[in-house]
Symmetry: C2
Subunit: 131 residues, 2 copies
DNA sequence: TAGGTACCTTACTTTTTTGTCTGTACTTGC
DNA sequence: GCAAGTACAGACAAAAAAGTAAGGTACCTA
């Protein structure tokens, strides 16, 4: 398994936390599993068609190893595997909420700033044509 | 400037937040600047000798562009540059606190689990030698 | 004139992460 | 027999992030 992960400096607990949730799709997956619990592999795939099967499995396995999700195999044909969040995963989801809040605010500010810059540029252009 | 950043999926605000704080040293830097505000370049370098100058500058510049830190240049000889966190950066630091908490707990759990496994392995080995 | 300090910049290499594609085992349906 | 569906595994390649090493400015001291 590809698991050599860049080691993050410890910054008072943030290192380990970011190591767990830092993957490109992990936060999204945790959130979706938390919503639609329990959740089958194919379901996740359908919910997020952008993510490749390989990354989906890789991330799910790492999250399982980190103890934030639980994987249950039903020995049926066709196979059936269900994912759910562990209590630890639920706590993480909770701890992530303020960060998500901040992210939303930051995004809004950024967009507003961009819009403002565009408006300023237009105004300047008008000024030039009128001057 | 190297800034093409892997695009993170949006997961309800977490995407933008992780884009801002996801760099290897960024959380640490934000935290340190917040502690020792205002903070000179050389100071940060001394506080964290592991990080290369290039990464230090690169991260500082990106954080400045994201509006979470402020950079002030004093035109002196030798040059003097001071970094401080913006209100937005301070909010981010706050939003990061629960995650850091979780990280610490997670780390403890992981270590305990590892210790437990080692103990179990020893016990099993004894069992074998004694049996 | 060489060496030192502070704050970078640039070119280049390595490491890590992500993506693409192909293949597996098994069964149902046509 | 062949396709389709489920839940993966593995080789390989591309992209992104991080690191290394060298240089550059501007002034000051020995």
């Amino acid at each position: 398994m590809e698991k050599k992960q860049r080691k993050l400096p410890d910054s008072c607990g943030l290192g380990p936390a970011l190591a767990v949730i830092g993957g490109k799709w992990k936060a999204l997956l945790l959130w979706q599993i938390h919503q639609a619990q329990p959740c089958r592999f194919g379901e996740l795939k359908r919910l997020q068609p952008e993510i490749s099967e390989k990354m989906l499995i890789q991330h799910l396995r790492e999250m399982e190893a980190d103890g934030i999700i639980h994987r249950e195999v039903f020995h049926q044909v066709p196979p059936r595997v269900e994912y759910s969040v562990t209590p630890e995963g639920a706590e993480l989801d909770l701890a992530l909420a303020p960060l998500a809040e901040w992210g939303k605010k930051h995004q809004e500010r950024t967009e507003k700033a961009k819009a403002g810059a565009a408006r300023a540029a237009r105004t300047a252009a008008e000024g030039v044509t009128l001057g």
